[in-house]
Symmetry: C2
Subunit: 635 residues, 2 copies
């Protein structure tokens, strides 16, 4: 057991603003927290007094230690207001750690700076269940997001620059530049030797290659139309959704239309979050497919010589950042891939380190983006597949508000006042809307894992409404259904939830399994996910998607798991279909590949990979008090 | 006096590669160094074990302490190979601190990651005069470069998004969105009140404004053609030199041609490096002019509501990063603005903190980019003007190689073997080439500061050649001319230089003054710089430059100092004119403004603000050893 000293909370009512609560609490010096949880001083690097990066070597030191219990926090199909997954993750950990004396780690995703400056709202939890300091959490943190951006953009620059150089040089000139003579000696560097091997050329001395071999080696012949690897930026900048590059006179007419995505949508982000070690990170980076050559063969980061440099840019980002909750329990913040075109989970590395640190009686609470149909399914079928880690329990976060919305209540929107249906008792809407939650409970069962429903209580919720949901949950296979009030009360408000989680996770009556094996064809996997998880009758593949399946199968990428990209606002592909829709067919517009990360992502509809600023973004309110150095207006 | 314990150097011959030397030395724990130089534990934040950020509050604590001696390291007009300014700065500090027992700080610029991955070569010094760990120095450091990129790009995104929103909304809709009603209350936020004040509207309640006032407030009417504020990225990406943005269907046809620059060319970089306090930083950010409205009036970051958010993004970047030399003396690394379109100096803040920390008998060695005609002139006329700090001595770094080049020697280029003229004694070339060095010595005198010439010795240099240069220097007004060998010997090789610097800096026989007063017209300032520093007969203003002078004078920006952007390879605007050219007229193609940073920059010729990758960039060689975590191939 850790000798962790919780921070006490002074609870105020009404609950103040997030930033006021966060500013009122003084975090422990991160060295103190590190010592409390058993980290040696050589196992972490401080970044200021309230953040540190924890080294991967912890896993090696503790390799004989049994892992703790592994709990996923996911949610009902959300309204646009969000139902409080992060807040619940944090509150649950405060309850487990500060109130029930368990070793516990929360493993959260790092938010993007785009939304932080756009729509008001951080991602550090809320009320009395937050990660502190919340300003650090929501801004640069320890620079991982920037390192990912830099690694991504180095590869992107190398793609277009290589095309330019190939267009303007003969085979021989290109070869001579790629393998230059230095003081009379020509040598292939290691990544060039890797390319030779891939090409089946066994010669290792540059002079020995025939003219044909030189040409094959030197000319990647990237088809500009085929490039799927885009530049990224961690700023909401809608004007970059479609751009034309290469219009400078120095580029001699090589122009190309492309797009800039927001950093969480970068494959490099997905790679980092799915990597299990430094070695594995480098392997995955090298496998990133940026497009095809003119023969239709995949071109990789390895082919562009970029792998080592990208790994060097990520060498610190590979270490998760440790912070703390308002009650002084430890939190890892690491990676934040999108939950549509990527798998929406924090890193495998942070979960692995945390599972060792908490020990066999401890708990690691990790979360996945969007509803359980997206985040949980991908957590199981992608993240757990690559990590080899076995989850013990799932918490499904629900709200009376979301249930009413699924039951046919009027539309809710950010900033608009809540319609009466949501602020007055309405058992009928709750009962009808339960169909959605029921489906997520069932889906959890399909992986062999117990589901605990966490009902986030709002001030308008009546006891009858809450009782009804608890009853329905228990009748429909939930291991427990618990009313939570950690937003207003901190860990104290989630003690019942924590007890239910302990019971479920420690019960031996379940065994985790995947929903599909990797060996079956792409189309079959897709049908399984669509039918079992979304409740569809089947799938409808576009001509383009069909061609992609042929291509990926030919290229040997058909053994990858799937990462379906669809709306989070419905179990189906249509955001207007609430509850648990049936009788629909899932349309697959296209299928793309993140070969480095290790999944294919079928696209149902248009998914924007770049957010935009509204007319009056949070930019206007965010300010720095130059007297005190404090940040104002961020929450 | 500090109780600084130098690190001992084990000198090898022949001198190993930079990365091998750097890796062989174990730096002191940064906490140890911080204590040695008198920092309290609350005055710095560790970033790992070998870097820390030092707080601005040190200056307040030591406000009654007299500043140390302030020494600028600049150089002769360089060859493309570089003459070793950074190496000399580091070697001089190693000599002063580790060999002569003086308190000393080196204040260096942070390099861009663009060139690091392009042309081989870091910027942490070289040989036995380096900053360590050199990998950290050359890569992310403590994230300042990324923070600058983020702040820059937030403003850039806000510019185009605002244009889009203004195009698609009525005055009233725009006003209602900018000043929304929250629970029935409408309020201007502080930055909106600032805009009202600028517009001469004295009302402070949103309801009170007339329709006309609402329109004037809400509509910035930015002229897309006038925008001079570009997006930046710290990656060499030539394809972004000219791009068209806004081609996504969601942008409804609002497209615009623009460019992406490399981060050191960002005005935000110049702002941060010239800021003297947090307050001053915010003021300068708010003053950044991004272009004009349709009436030709300047539009600022303040108008876009972006100032506070940019300051928040820079709140950590404002603190300089402390590292150490190979011999364990302290180094600040802070900011790295370009030396052409910006002033090429490290930050005022780092110099100010260092001058306090070293105390009245100590030394701060700071450097400026390119030759003395660019870096030194801007250091004096721009940086010293804003800092109010008085320099005591200038070190001009020269090499026999550069002198021979100026004397008519054949062209030298990176990667190509040195022609015989450079590896055999040639007193005639040296004598002729001295004209260039002579001019820089004279120029230094025009600011009332003594010039010490540091002759970086190369293995080919003969004693006769070196003697000749020393003699010529002393005949032509240098305070000293010293042969240095710190590249091969570390601080020991710069002890003579250090002694000469101490003598000159401690001598009371000089008084610093600017080259021109701010009050005279732009054209007059330009003529003074061209004639006095470059040796031109006069200037030739293009029609465009003339119009800009009118505009800036009308807008009240004519009182700013000048930051001439021209080639670094000649005292003139023509890179092929070596030595000390005369009889030329300086052509001014255009004049642009960095109003936030606080200078106008006249352009002589085309200056690229985005570097490119060559066919075989250093990317190929840089790698991460996943066993040891060590970086390979970076130097």
């Amino acid at each position: 057991m850790w000798s962790l000293k919780p921070l006490s909370l002074e609870l105020l009512s009404p609950v103040p603003s997030d930033i006021d609560i966060a500013s009122a609490q003084t975090p422990k010096d991160i060295n103190v927290l590190a010592q409390e949880i058993g980290l040696g001083s050589e196992e972490y690097d401080c970044y200021g007094k309230q953040k540190a990066k924890v080294h991967l070597s912890v896993v090696d030191r503790m390799q004989n230690q049994r892992d703790g219990h592994y709990v996923l926090v996911t949610g009902i199909t959300p309204t646009p207001l969000g139902e409080g997954k992060s807040t619940t993750s944090v509150g649950l950990c405060q309850a487990l750690g500060a109130h029930l004396g368990r070793n516990v780690f929360a493993c959260l995703r790092q938010p993007s700076q785009g939304p932080t400056f756009g729509i008001k709202g951080g991602a550090a939890g809320g009320g009395y269940s937050q990660v502190i300091p919340m300003v650090d959490f929501n801004l640069h943190l320890t620079g991982d997001m920037h390192a990912i951006t830099a690694a991504n953009n180095l590869l992107a620059a190398q793609i277009d620059t290589r095309i330019f150089h190939e267009k303007t040089q003969s085979d021989e000139a290109l070869y001579n530049r790629l393998v230059p003579s230095k003081q009379g000696v020509r040598k292939f560097c290691p990544i060039q030797l890797k390319r030779l091997k891939k090409l089946g050329i066994t010669k290792t001395r540059p002079e020995e290659l025939t003219a044909d071999e030189r040409a094959v080696f030197a000319r990647l012949d990237i088809d500009p139309e085929s490039i799927t690897f885009n530049r990224v930026i961690d700023t909401s900048d809608r004007c970059l959704r479609k751009i034309t590059i290469g219009q400078g006179t120095s580029e001699k007419g090589f122009t190309r239309q492309t797009q800039v995505d927001i950093t969480p949508s970068s494959e490099v982000m997905a790679v980092l979050s799915l990597a299990t070690s430094l070695d594995d990170l480098k392997e995955r980076l090298g496998r990133i497919v940026i497009g095809s050559n003119l023969k239709g063969e995949p071109v990789t980061a390895d082919d562009l010589g970029c792998t080592g440099s990208m790994a060097v840019l990520l060498k610190d980002a590979v270490h998760p950042t440790i912070m703390q909750t308002l009650e002084g329990t430890p939190v890892f913040v690491h990676c934040g891939p999108f939950a549509n075109i990527a798998h929406g989970c924090s890193s495998i590395i942070s979960d692995r380190i945390a599972l060792k640190l908490v020990g066999p009686d401890g708990f690691v609470v990790t979360e996945a983006g969007f509803g359980a149909d997206l985040g949980m399914e991908k957590f199981f079928n992608i993240k757990c597949r690559y990590s080899g880690l076995t989850p013990n329990a799932v918490v499904i976060v629900a709200t009376i508000r979301a249930l009413k919305c699924h039951g046919g209540g009027p539309t809710v929107a950010l900033g608009a006042p809540l319609p009466d249906e949501y602020t007055r008792e309405n058992l009928d809407l709750v009962r009808k809307g339960f169909a959605n939650l029921k489906k997520h409970i069932e889906n959890t069962g399909k992986f062999g894992i117990p589901a605990i429903v966490a009902l986030n209580r709002f001030k308008w919720d009546t006891d009858s409404e809450l009782d009804l949901v608890q009853k329905l949950c228990m009748e429909n296979g939930a291991a427990a259904a618990v009313i939570c009030n950690h937003w207003a009360l901190g860990g104290k408000g989630a003690v019942d939830l924590a007890k239910a989680v302990i019971r479920a996770a420690e019960s031996p009556n379940h065994s985790f399994h995947f929903l599909y094996p990797l060996e079956i064809p792409i189309e079959k996997k897709l049908v399984i996910v669509a039918r079992e998880i979304y409740g569809a009758d089947g799938i409808d593949l576009s001509e383009k998607a069909r061609r992609k399946i042929e291509t990926y199968t030919r290229q040997g990428f058909d053994k990858l798991p799937l990462c379906v990209s669809k709306t989070q606002l419905s179990l189906s592909h249509d955001p207007t279909l609430k509850g648990a829709p049936t009788g629909f067919v899932l349309p697959i517009r296209d299928i793309q590949a993140s070969v480095g990360a290790g999944f294919l992502y079928p696209l149902c509809g248009d998914i924007s990979t770049m957010t935009g600023l509204n007319t009056r973004p949070a930019i206007y309110d965010i300010d720095l008090d130059t007297e005190t150095g404090r940040v104002i207006g961020l929450f």
